[in-house]
Amino acid sequence: MTPMETAPFPILSTILLSTIVGLLVILFIPEDRPKLVKQVSLLFAGVGLVLCLWLYYAYDVQKGGFQFVERFLWVKSLGIYYFNAVDGINLPMLLLTAVVLFTGVWTMWELEVRVKEFFAFMYLLVAGVYGVFMSMDLFWIFVWYDVSLFPMYPLIAIWGGTRKEYGGMKLTLYLLAGSALILPGILYLWVQGGAQTFDLLELQRIGFPLGVQKSAFVMLYLGFGILAAAWPFHTWSPVGHVAAPTAVSMIHAGVLMKLGAYGILRLGMTLCPEGLAYWADFMAVLATVGIVYGAFVGLAQTDLKYVIGYSSVSHMGMVGLGLSTMTVNGINGAVFQMFAHGIMTALFFSAVGYIYDKTHTKMIPELGGLSKTMPMASAFFIVAALAGVGVPCMASFWAELLVFVSAVKTYPVRGILAVLALVVGALFMLRVVQKTFYGEKNERWAHIPDVPPFLMTPRIILIGFILFFGLFPKMLLDVIQSAVVPFVAGL
């Protein structure tokens, strides 16, 4: 392992603090100044984005390994460390979080109900997400993980749409049931490691016996798998997506689901590589079923948000499939897909969010011909759909390519099934686009204004990221690879 240097300036903690300070500032703004709340929220999200971009730029790919390390003892008697660091795997995730938060806050500019509380809960959620991605200590990963989950309940139940109370409750209970497996898993590994340390890297060096790895991996895989919407634990996901307000859907599908996949990779796979080898086959089966199932169930949906929800199940299946191959390409593809899918779904939900805000419906049969009345809103959705289908020049193309190449090699039958499902998925996405945006113009929506330029900006930023990493995949791949290659070599 490469030696770690402590960062001269705690930039990771600063990113984390940008959300916590943002939260406190929002709490102290009077209730009757919603405009100010939004401005402050956008400002702090912007600070986070700038810092993450700088971090991405400053990360030394040649050197690889963990950089910007901050580490000191937190709770002595248990061996808990405050330990933040970035490597090629969590760096893209941090950037993703910052982008989705920034654009998400901007998208919610027209929110009028209980503005202050909305942004406060959202900042709490994002603090948790940042924390999970940057922590290298099992205790903190778990703490941040739960912090990122429970604000979902008020966010969905108060500001949500369709069946919001049911969706919010279902989502919260499902995800926290997942953490009911993660915590015993973490504590189990801690005890097996001598009850000395929660430091992820120190625990990695221990090399647990096979029996321990097998049971610990299952607990971590199932626990995090629920959040990654691994089939058959995905049912909370479409329901939750549909119920949530726009920015929450964006953060939820764009970032939160990645926490699950990230947890499987960071905790399950690096701590229990032999456990992974034992369960990989099983993981690949679940992932493939998820891909195929998501694509086919998506075919039958008439609600735009359900369509995206099921396509997310399918796309997150690809992440799982990539991880289960245990090859450089597969894991590269999985991490790339986490990033690409995050940006893409954020765009999807922000496009649907605008349409829903204006027309108050997201049922495909009721819409139709929208490209004539709101060309920009339609364009955003169509770009996202193309990205989801995996058209070249879009970021997801490279991700899916990498996953499929390695999947077909490792698990031929499942790999081919997944590719076929992708074709079906493409078909259904194009059908949705055709029905919603082309064809008969629906006079009911003729008077509706298109996206104003101010609200176009966040969506354009998202498209910018999709295209940038689609055209220059090396910019992302090199970073990811710097962490994945040593990991796979150590398997």
Binding site: E31, W74, V75, K76, S77, L78, E117, F139, F142, V143, W144, D146, V147, F150, Y153, P154, A157, I158, E165, M169, T172, L173, L176, A177, S179, A180, L181, L183, P184, L187, Y188, W190, V191, A195
Partner: protein, 474 residues
Amino acid sequence: MMMKWVLFIPELYYVVMAAVFFGWSIHRKGEPRRLFGWALVLSAVGVVVTLGSVQLEGMLFFDAYRVDFFSQVFKFLLALGTFWVIFTCSELNGIEERQHAEFYFFLSVCTLAMMMLVSSVELLTIYVSIELSSYSLYLLVPMRRQVDEYVETGIKYFMVGVTASAFMLFGISLLFGVTHTTYVGKILQVLPGLIREPAAVVGLVLALSGFFFKQALFPFHIWAPDVYQGAANQVTTYIATASKMAAAAMVIRFVGFSGGESPGFVYLLIGLSVVSMTFGNLVAIIQKDIKRLLAYSSIAHAGYMLIGILSMTQRGYASAIYYAVAYLVMTFACFMVILKVADDGHNLQIKELAGLHRRSPLLAMTLMMGLFGLAGIPPTVGFTGKFLVFAAALEKGYLWLVIVGMINATISLYYYLIVIKAAYLLEPLKPYPGVRVDPWTRALSIVLVILMVYLGIFPDQFVALTEAAARSLL
């Protein structure tokens, strides 16, 4: 000789405090505001006194009474709990005005008894202390306006309590028969050799049942929901916080003394813990009255706490102490909100919390943090407590117990979320009167929220403190 009495200062102080209110109750002249002022000041001084005597150590009364760091920490916490309860008595509307002096009198006596309880290391002293605290509570519970409606509660509490005492006495006599001593320290030396004898295990379990009764652990919980509902809100708060602390302390000390790990005894405790958690959480789901809901949740929490205790390691006891403190803070936060929302002293229904986020954003937030803490969600102290308890249990290899505990925590989240939903989401069906929050309550709310988050995120020194307390135990 003088030096010895210094050890007894906290208890003596509460004797004086009780005497003051006893005098008042005879004169029947105390008007509520003045009584409240006196009680507040006296209990605040009590907190200072117990804090000042936290470092004392020694033995009293022919070694029947042990003053150590463990007992002094709990005395401080009891004093703090009592102070908080009295703090919320500014509108003591649940109790007739002419009975206010008695109310404070019995509160002081009960606190005194519990302080004696956490220091007692001799079976008969323990029994006397526990009865003194119980009888104060038997009188406090029926002391409520519209007593006719709630008279059943008082009788039920008394009957169940007396039965538990009888069991306890029987257990004590068995222990005495097996070990020929009533000193817990001597029992400790003899018991590990006898722990496989049925009489010893039965004696230990029956003796413990007295504490389990106070802690409302299944199957000794029968009284809890009715008493929580039937007693005046302030009395319920006292039972739910201070009384629970004392019981937890005693269970920790007693199991700690039992030393030897008979598998049968451990399995019995595991069984009690699992049943208590599951039963409490499942029944809490259907409750409409928030005090009843918290009663069932307290049954579940007694189960969580027992997980740490039954690990029988120093870390286990330390985690249980941590959990007890966390529980005190979180439960008090919830009850304070209930007291303020129902300031006329009626029993609060969950649906009456509707729209609380607008009636009082601060109280709504305090309630939310308290409930999330009880559900074990970070970054609150409740999460860290669960974490420590489960870590101690896993160190002993009780993986399944921890998984059951976590599943239970998820179940409990459901009913806590229902309450949070009422406070944050539901619109009131009829306009409820506004919630008056005086500056002091406001300050206490903020202190509680900060305390819950601070102890949750920066547990290092606090964990070290509980470990020191657990060390002094053995």
